[in-house]
């Protein structure tokens, strides 16, 4: 079965609605939850996600209790998305804490960009802490590195097809995926600015094992609240079930 990886910014737009989205999205077919912990500088995120970080910043009382609450509400794997840059000085503590509350894994979008020379060391640290290391790649990652990281990435290999989330830069989704499919010996989840349903079908036909959605949900919540976002979860689930 194809995987639906659903992203939400921690506590967006308010804690209550956030938890409602999380719970209902799992009921409607999300397979993995990706929860964004607002970083100091969301350098590789697009304007919509950046705005969502702004909305919640200062509003979340305690990220740890909210993460714990999230964990208690759902059973599926939870992967935290945050920037390594913010945690380098306190990484071991951070990892231990995530593990202790039952978070499954971690994804650092800046790992292969800003920490390329030490990425293996960081992956090992994550794994040694008992967490799953999900590796984020992009079209600009050279072939040999995609091949190598795909074998060490846990759960799946994340492949972002756009230079930044949520800006519909025109890309040929299918040819981008075709290129990496043969290199990836792992589940391949495609994301970053996907919202066009035809692009999703193209991604599946080109061999993706799943899609990761974030910006589209946040825009939907902005427009029509949680109900609107849940409609999308249902719709995406149906599309994935075609394959």
């Amino acid at each position: 079965m194809k995987m639906l990886v659903s992203y939400m910014t921690l506590g967006y737009p308010e804690e209550e609605q956030y938890l409602e989205f999380v719970e209902r999205s799992v009921k409607e077919g999300s397979d993995i939850l990706e929860i964004g912990v607002p970083p100091k500088y969301a350098k590789y995120d697009g304007p919509v996600i950046r705005k969502s970080y702004k909305t919640v910043s200062g509003k979340i009382k305690d990220i740890w209790s909210l993460l714990k609450e999230t964990r208690e509400r759902v059973r599926i794997p939870i992967v935290i998305l945050t920037y390594l840059e913010d945690w380098v000085p306190t990484l071991n503590d951070f990892l231990a804490k995530l593990y202790s509350i039952g978070i499954d894994g971690l994804l650092f979008p800046d790992l292969l960009i800003d920490y390329i020379d030490d990425y293996e060391e960081y992956v090992k640290k994550i794994k040694d802490a008992g967490l799953k290391a999900v590796i984020f790649t992009a079209p600009s990652v050279p072939d040999p590195l995609i091949q190598k990281t795909s074998t060490i990435s846990d759960l799946f290999l994340y492949y972002g097809v756009r230079p930044t989330t949520g800006v519909p830069i025109p890309v040929s989704v299918d040819s981008l995926i075709t290129r990496v499919r043969i290199l990836v010996s792992n589940k391949l989840v495609v994301g970053f600015g996907l919202s066009d349903t035809e692009d999703m079908r193209k991604a599946m036909r080109a061999g993706a094992d799943g899609i990761a959605i974030g910006t589209a949900y946040i825009e939907a919540i902005e427009k029509g609240g949680v109900d609107e976002a849940i409609k999308l979860v249902k719709q995406y689930r149906e599309i994935l079930n075609e394959f």
């Binding site: 350098k43 697009g46 950046r50 800003d114 079209p139 600009s140 990652v141 050279p142 830069i169 890309v171």
Partner: protein, 437 residues
């Protein structure tokens, strides 16, 4: 069948050799880089998304190509015809007299981009960008120009596809380089001395200082604002990787031409402003694993290689484009007034910067007196007056050729002669007065 033309019997040409050498694909180095290319990003706490802005000002296909990771990108048939129309392939020539003059055992070849009608390589990306704009129903393209090479290329490209063009030319250049302005106008371009009253940005500058001399950053801001307000499209001259992609036509042709010579170059050299002619020439060789040494040449007066940092910075001094990771002196760096206007730029394209950082590409920096002497030696030997920008590459060629002489090695040196200097004669005259003893 034979054709009878003015008394001479000629065999019909079966294949146009030019069409064989002209590549069908552009080469993109991104998938062959040793490390991931750091993506563009918006600055922290940005009020608007610069990445989103690109979407509004660039033709869609150009933007798609900017972010493509396909190793080879097909050149549309219309663009190939456009390349033929402007006389591509440009010649790859042997600089035999220069070799003799230097007494070097090395062989020296140069790709002559000065052979295009606009006199430099800039047309290689202006033309496809104009084509893609036209294809999307755009009727009018806009850009800025400093010294005038880029603006000239845009003006011609727009006319080739029956579009209008507006060029914001830095006011000092507008006044000092009337010939460039005239060419652009002959091609049908509208040329304005920037700052202008046509944009809010320009008006603001003029309010503060009515006799402002202008700058590339101001001209660029005006061009972008003008494009946005009128729903025209903006064409980008260098630095962004899509410009290097299109410029790869230079290296792709050179590969085929070297094959005809039965020769593989050992050393590849080019000058660097933003990196488009160097990358366009050298990257296809890198990708084909031909060549042992790659030398990017900058100006001593604008010491980005020796003193720049490899950091995220704005490609434009106005800060309207997304941040990219590159070797840079900082967007607010004010370059001194050297005559090689095309090298007065604070950074180098992200892909080239990464290759410099990884030491796959070496660099040199030469001063104005050094490049003036090199230009003179080359002109005396080969008859071609090089653009002052290209003369930087020539200086590195001479140094490498003399090194080969000292070491008694039969190296094959190839360089890109990015443009001729026939519209830079006033500059040469000033250099002669100042530098000849």
């Amino acid at each position: 069948m034979h054709l009878f033309i003015s008394g001479v019997i000629v065999a019909p040409m079966v294949v146009d050799r030019r069409e064989e050498i002209l590549p069908k694909y552009w080469y993109n180095i991104i998938p062959d880089l040793p490390k991931p290319l750091p993506p563009p990003r918006d600055p922290p706490d940005a009020e608007f998304s610069r990445i989103d802005l690109l979407r509004k000002i660039m033709p869609k296909e150009v933007l798609r190509q900017q972010f493509t990771v396909e190793r080879f990108v097909k050149i549309p048939e219309e663009v190939r015809n456009g390349y033929l129309n402007i006389g591509r392939p440009t010649p790859l020539l042997r600089a035999k007299r220069l070799e003799e003059k230097l007494g070097t055992p090395a062989k020296i070849y140069f790709k002559f981009e000065g052979a295009t009608p606009t006199g430099s390589h800039k047309i290689n990306t202006a033309m496809p960008q104009a084509y893609f704009a036209k294809n999307e129903g755009v009727e009018h393209v806009v850009t800025e120009t400093g010294a005038g090479q880029w603006g000239t290329a845009v003006a011609l490209s727009a006319s080739m596809f029956s579009m209008k063009s507006t060029v914001f030319m830095v006011k000092v250049s507008y006044e000092q380089k009337p010939q460039r302005r005239t060419i652009m106008q002959l091609y049908g371009g509208e040329v304005y001395a920037s700052p202008t009253k046509l944009t809010e940005f320009g008006r603001k500058i003029l309010d503060e200082n009515p006799s402002h001399p202008g700058s590339l950053g101001i001209a660029m801001s005006e061009a972008i604002e003008y494009a946005l307000n009128n729903d025209y499209r903006y064409l980008v001259g260098s630095v962004l990787d899509v410009a290097i992609l299109h410029q790869s036509v230079i290296g792709q042709e050179s590969l085929a031409q070297f094959e005809e010579y039965g020769e593989d170059p050992d050393i590849l050299i080019g000058c660097v402003g933003g990196g488009s002619n160097f990358g366009g020439f050298a990257f296809p060789f890198l990708g084909s694993k031909i060549g042992k040494k790659f030398i990017a040449v900058g100006s001593y007066e604008i010491p980005k290689f020796s003193q720049g940092n490899y950091i995220y910075d704005f490609p434009d001094s106005a800060g309207l484009l997304p941040l990219v990771k590159m070797v840079t002196l900082g967007k607010d760096y004010v370059p001194p007034p050297i005559y090689a206007g095309g090298l007065r730029y604070h950074g180098a394209a992200p892909s080239l910067s990464l290759l410099l950082k990884e030491r796959i590409v070496e660099w040199r920096e030469y001063s104005e007196p050094e490049i003036f002497e090199a230009a003179k030696i080359f002109a005396e030997a080969q008859g071609i007056v090089p653009a002052p920008e290209s003369a930087h590459a020539i200086k590195a060629v001479i140094d490498e050729a003399l090194k080969a002489k000292k070491e008694g090695e039969k190296k094959v040196i190839a360089f890109n002669l990015s443009g001729h200097g026939l519209l830079d004669l006033p500059n040469y005259e000033l250099m002669m007065k100042r530098l000849s003893k």
